[in-house]
């Protein structure tokens, strides 16, 4: 498939016995030595909400960057069955897609752009893939229960409510959230901590010289936990390595599930900008 400045090739990427349905998008001619892996949250297929990753891939190709967008195993047109656990990222899916892109597009260096659960998978893959030079992540859950023990009754009730649309919306109601927050504050002990796995992966990436950008909205619910995570990560890297972590905040939005066309435009433009600036900085570093 070809368009103005891009060409696309659907492919089934091998992952053990499974095949991950993917689309490789490449510049019509030539291109830079930097490929991009586009990852979604668990329930989205490779195109992402309202084709965000299709638009991103084609915009990247027009600027000379090949990419791959991929359905996780058990999702969309891929084979297999999936079970998502926030602490068990799909790094093997991301690594399989990355390896395929390197072979198909002939690139040596990679960037990973991801949202939500894909952010966990992106960071876990980047920690193992030494050619990954940058990771950009839109809002990603970072907290995990301190002890994953049998659920208390309040959590069971909350989960039961979340099984229904009305219950989910009720839980998102500001008044309900405020009351739940007060109740949580009265309980003893920290309920959650920043994911140790995620912190370890980020530290690994930073020590290798990789760049990490978090794309959040100023109203994103997890913004506090992001700042806490960065502070905790900072204790394990040098001040110079710490400067490679960037928080890109957009005013007036939470970017929640990318539920407006404006939020989607933010995600697409930030992804393209991230790869572009990564390429420029790599080019500057390579210039004697």
């Amino acid at each position: 498939m070809t368009g103005a400045g891009w060409q696309e090739f659907p492919a089934f990427v091998p992952l053990g016995d499974d095949r991950l349905c993917s689309v490789v998008c490449a510049p019509s001619e030539g291109g830079h030595d930097l490929g991009v892996v586009l990852l979604t949250g668990g329930n989205y297929t490779r195109t992402h909400r309202n084709r965000m990753w299709v638009r991103t891939a084609r915009a990247l190709a027009e600027r000379g960057f090949p990419s791959i967008r991929v359905d996780y195993h058990g999702v969309g047109d891929s084979t297999g069955t999936a079970f998502f656990d926030m602490e068990v990222p799909f790094d093997k899916d991301a690594l399989a897609a990355a390896a395929f892109l390197k072979r198909a597009a002939g690139v040596r260096r990679l960037a990973i752009v991801a949202t939500c659960f894909g952010g966990r998978s992106a960071m876990a893959a980047a920690a193992q893939e030494p050619d990954t030079v940058g990771i950009s992540i839109a809002p990603v859950p970072l907290s995990v229960p301190k002890n994953r023990q049998p659920l208390p009754t309040r959590s069971k009730v909350r989960l039961w409510m979340k099984r229904y649309a009305v219950g989910t919306k009720l839980l998102q109601n500001p008044t309900v959230r405020r009351l739940r927050g007060k109740a949580a504050a009265r309980r003893d002990g920290p309920a959650v901590i920043i994911s140790p796995r995620f912190k370890k992966d980020v530290v690994e990436v930073l020590k290798r010289g990789g760049a990490v950008r978090f794309v959040y909205g100023e109203l994103t619910e997890g913004l506090d936990e992001l700042h806490q995570a960065i502070e905790e990560i900072g204790a394990h890297v040098t001040p110079e390595q710490r400067t490679h972590v960037e928080v890109d905040l957009t005013e007036g939005t939470s970017l929640l599930r990318f539920q407006t066309l404006a939020d989607q435009d933010v995600i697409v433009s930030r992804a393209v900008d991230f790869v572009d600036s990564l390429h420029r900085s790599l080019s500057r570093a390579a210039t004697p």
Binding site: P10, C21, A26, T47, T81, F83
Partner: protein, 308 residues
């Protein structure tokens, strides 16, 4: 940077459990549509009846994919080639939804049917669609080219589909702090009329599609379709709903033979909703749609055997 076209071509298809899937691109009026062809691995068992899958709208394009895929693979295992594709402006295809019209949707469906016949030699056509895709399949069948239909929760009319989509936004708006920004369904339809587009939870509805499809009614007009139809009602209820029955009545009045299958959804699932949800540990998500996907495929396979 140099593309390895041989590698890409080698990975454009794979075979699993006797069904070969091949992803490719075909041209429609200067744009390119993504297609995924399912066919039996053994050509000797191939039927001359092929199927085209019409996808839905918005988030359902993504969420219904697993149901469509399960059905496509089951039909292919019975010998029937199946082509699932993205219409122009959707998914991995080129084109812009802003330019889309109802006629465009129908022409893309016809182009997919022609491509299926050219690829596999099928001479008879069946159409599959879930929700909005069911409406498109039903409308495409009016020209008499299809002899079979599988419709899953088709809306009666285009207007009822899009009104329901907009109403779902009202639930989400409960969480918006700024009450002034909340809008009623009528406000949003007025915006669609005035501006030519309305943003419904990050999915645009364009006037160019809404206007011609809003009055289309599957219970009022089945056109020249008089073949075999399988209607799924996938819901929490046990009886057959009015909308499903109205479509079934219209098709039967046209001379079609109709089977209505009422599938019960497990608690917490919605046909067209997300597949992976938390059912216990909030840190985990499991597939709650799997039984529905299997139920659709099993019922369709039984219907195909009985009506062969």
């Amino acid at each position: 940077m140099e593309l390895d076209r041989t590698l890409l071509a080698e990975h454009a298809s794979h075979t699993l459990d006797g069904v070969t899937e091949r992803a490719f691109v075909f041209e429609v009026e200067g744009e390119r549509c993504f297609g995924l062809l399912y066919r039996p691995q053994d050509d000797a068992v191939r039927s001359d009846l092929g199927w085209v899958v019409c996808h839905s709208y918005g988030l359902e394009v993504l969420n219904l994919r697993r149901s469509e895929r399960g059905l496509a693979r089951r039909l292919a295992s019975l010998g029937h080639p199946v082509l699932a594709f993205h219409r122009r402006g959707y998914g991995d295809s080129s084109g812009a939804l802003a330019d889309s019209t109802l006629e465009w949707h129908l022409r893309d469906t016809r182009a997919a049917a022609e491509r299926l016949a050219a690829e596999t030699g099928t001479t008879r056509l069946g159409l599959i669609g879930g929700k909005f895709g069911g409406l498109i399949a039903g409308l495409a069948a009016r020209d008499g080219s299809a002899e079979r239909l599988i419709l899953m929760n088709p809306p009666l009319t285009g207007a009822s589909y899009f009104r329901r989509m907009i109403k779902e936004m009202a639930l989400v708006q409960l969480s918006i702090r700024d009450e002034a920004s909340r809008r009623s369904t009528e406000d949003m339809l007025a915006e669609l009329e005035r501006d030519g587009m309305v943003d419904v939870l990050g999915f645009p509805i364009y006037r160019g599609l809404y206007e011609p499809i809003k009055g289309e009614d599957l219970s009022a007009d089945a056109g020249a379709f008089s073949g075999h139809a399988l209607l799924f009602q996938i819901s929490k209820r046990s009886g057959v709903g009015k909308e499903t029955q109205a479509v079934a009545d219209r098709l039967q009045a046209n001379g079609a033979t109709v089977r209505v299958e009422a599938l019960r959804e497990p608690p917490g699932t919605t046909f067209g909703g997300v597949a992976y949800v938390s059912t216990g540990d909030p840190m985990t998500r499991e597939d709650v749609q799997a039984t529905v996907v299997d139920g659709i495929a099993d019922a369709a396979a039984g219907w195909m055997r009985e009506t062969a």
